[in-house]
Symmetry: C2
């Protein structure tokens, strides 16, 4: 199976390059679709007639454990395995844990997940547990779990503070540039959800490297998108009790605050926040316009584009190429989806043709 | 977006070729992974030391609506759209309906799903309902719903009796041959779950066409795998009340019985049945050995390989290439998964380092 390290081996740090392909722990992550969202563009035009940009969605929900975390996990777990560790651990709102569990299992290592008690969607816990990991629920929030995990000894901590996680996540930026090149485009703005601020840091690493190598003439402005109740980067200070239904970004103390701030400044980008209602609205719109079903946190990026466009706060003229990362699949977060997309009441009938035709004609 | 029709246009029937690429309704289906299952092979060797074959898994659960149905739906819905229909309908155990709903939405058409009352997993109904389809629950089983849908007028019936569904599903056979060619292999046996018997018919269409074109020197033996309580092909007669937890193949009257029988005879294959327990065991093994999480019905193919191997009923010598199709993703069928993979009880602790270390040391 070929994963992102085998595909971008030359661009990996020497410590990862030192691990041969057959020792790399991979589940075939990466190579995810970058979808031109023409219907969404049309919607944005109805909201603001000046809108003329291209919008592309990077759907990371199709990775093996259905989130972008797999890109980083292949490097982190391969490294921990190579130095002889028997176990990995992480603090998590769910996606990191599921990914760590799957890669640890593949590597024949134990996995421990420190999660905020009762605050992780059951599907995510279930995934990790299916892969044989041990769940430790902490009486506290993600930040408390993260503070703890950093102090662990003798186990590989595979959160985004891990030295070889971000180099993997950076490959998403390479893939985006590689694909857009075929359409003679370069990303102008990259919108992505920001929780612990690792992914924005990774993308920026990727873009600046590609820029230095001459693969892209300029790097995009990094637009970090947060939920209003957990907008630690927007506010410029930590938040003790972050609150949002978008559980994957319910983080009050971003571990990569410094690097993310640097990414924002160097790229000429900005941090924005949107409300939970705006996030839900954007997720619904993605299903309706592009048939893409993402988890709640993922829709934060598109919600921000909608907001900026509606109020004319960014100039989306025709040479602008907007990329939005959808960080995880809607299937991992069915609870919020069930609550949001209230299923139409089924019509129950006897197996009679006339009754069926009555229903069809009534619609 | 590029789907299977654009990729295999030359091999499609003239009526589909007549529809131009921009009128094809696609969600980017196909191009699914074919995974060499080395750990599973090792397991099979522990069960029977004579086992020396290669096993490849075709993971259809990564299609846009997470099942193989999408391959057929692109052709069926494109055709119905091209002749000006406003609505499509299907009888379904869930996967067909979810796929029909998504493609109909993309095409701007209405969709009606006739499903057996209370017998379809909630995730599948939810998916269709999210895409705006109308669910009609029939007081009866799948076969009753199917008998009804065949009589509908003025709506496109997109079940596998549709003339342009199987040509799309046949592309999975093309993809398998194309990929195995790179490894200088040709499928010897193809195991796949059989419910309504459309997919086995489609694969056989694909293999014989590729064989005629000289792409493969011979076509594989088609091995149809059924659940014991719904083994209409094995028994050679219809079953009034099919029973199995594998809801996707809980079908007693296979619509494509005749074609499937021909496929079996022409290919030198056979139909087999396995118990629900064997199916569950195989699904668990797939997670444990290959990190693949499929729906219950999908595991029927692997369960059959395990059974035949254990009892030495098929000669899996080293030149044999076994392909198993996994028809749908485990994420569509979380209920049976929750019931099967009983999550380990979480350990709940205060955020104290010593307590965490105690847990880790105890494992």
């Amino acid at each position: 199976m070929r994963g992102i390290i085998s595909r971008y081996r030359d661009l990996m740090p020497p410590e990862i390059q030192a691990i041969s392909d057959d020792k790399i722990v991979t589940l075939g992550e990466g190579g995810t679709p970058l979808i031109r969202a023409k219907n969404l563009e049309e919607y944005l035009r109805t909201q603001n007639p000046k809108f003329a940009a291209q919008v592309w969605l990077k759907d990371e929900g199709v990775n093996p454990t259905k989130s972008f975390k797999d890109r980083g996990m292949t490097g982190a777990v391969s490294y921990e395995k190579s130095i002889g560790r028997a176990a990995v651990a992480c603090a998590s709102t769910g996606n990191t844990y599921g990914s760590a569990a799957a890669y640890a299992k593949k590597a024949g290592m134990k996995c421990f997940g420190l999660v905020p008690e009762g605050k992780v969607t059951p599907g995510k816990i279930f995934l990790a547990s299916m892969y044989g990991a041990t769940t430790i629920e902490i009486r506290g929030n993600f930040d408390a779990a993260f503070a703890l995990v950093k102090q662990l000894k003798d186990v590989g901590v595979v959160n985004n503070i891990h030295p070889y996680r971000l180099c993997g996540q950076a490959t998403a930026a390479f893939e985006i540039c590689d694909k857009l090149k075929r359409f003679k485009r370069v990303p102008s703005y990259h919108f992505l959800p920001v929780g612990n601020a690792g992914n924005i840091t990774a993308y920026w690493m990727g873009y600046t490297l590609y820029n230095k190598m001459g693969q892209i003439p300029f790097a995009p402005a990094m637009m970090g998108c947060q939920a209003e109740g957990a907008a630690a980067m927007v506010l410029g200070r930590d938040i003790e009790n972050p609150e949002t239904e978008a559980s994957a970004i319910r983080i009050g103390k971003p571990a990569r605050r410094e690097e993310a701030t640097r990414a924002r400044i160097e790229s000429g980008g900005r941090f924005y926040s949107v409300t939970d209602d705006e996030i839900k609205e954007a997720r619904k719109l993605l299903v309706e316009t592009e048939d893409v079903f993402c988890e709640l946190a993922s829709a934060t990026s598109v919600a921000t584009v909608i907001k900026l466009n509606r109020f004319g706060r960014l100039d989306f003229w025709k040479m602008v190429t907007v990329v939005c990362t959808l960080t995880g699949s809607g299937w991992k977060d069915l609870d919020t989806a069930f609550a949001q997309f209230i299923p139409q009441k089924s019509i129950v009938i006897e197996p009679k043709l006339d009754d069926v035709m009555d229903v069809i004609r009534s619609k």
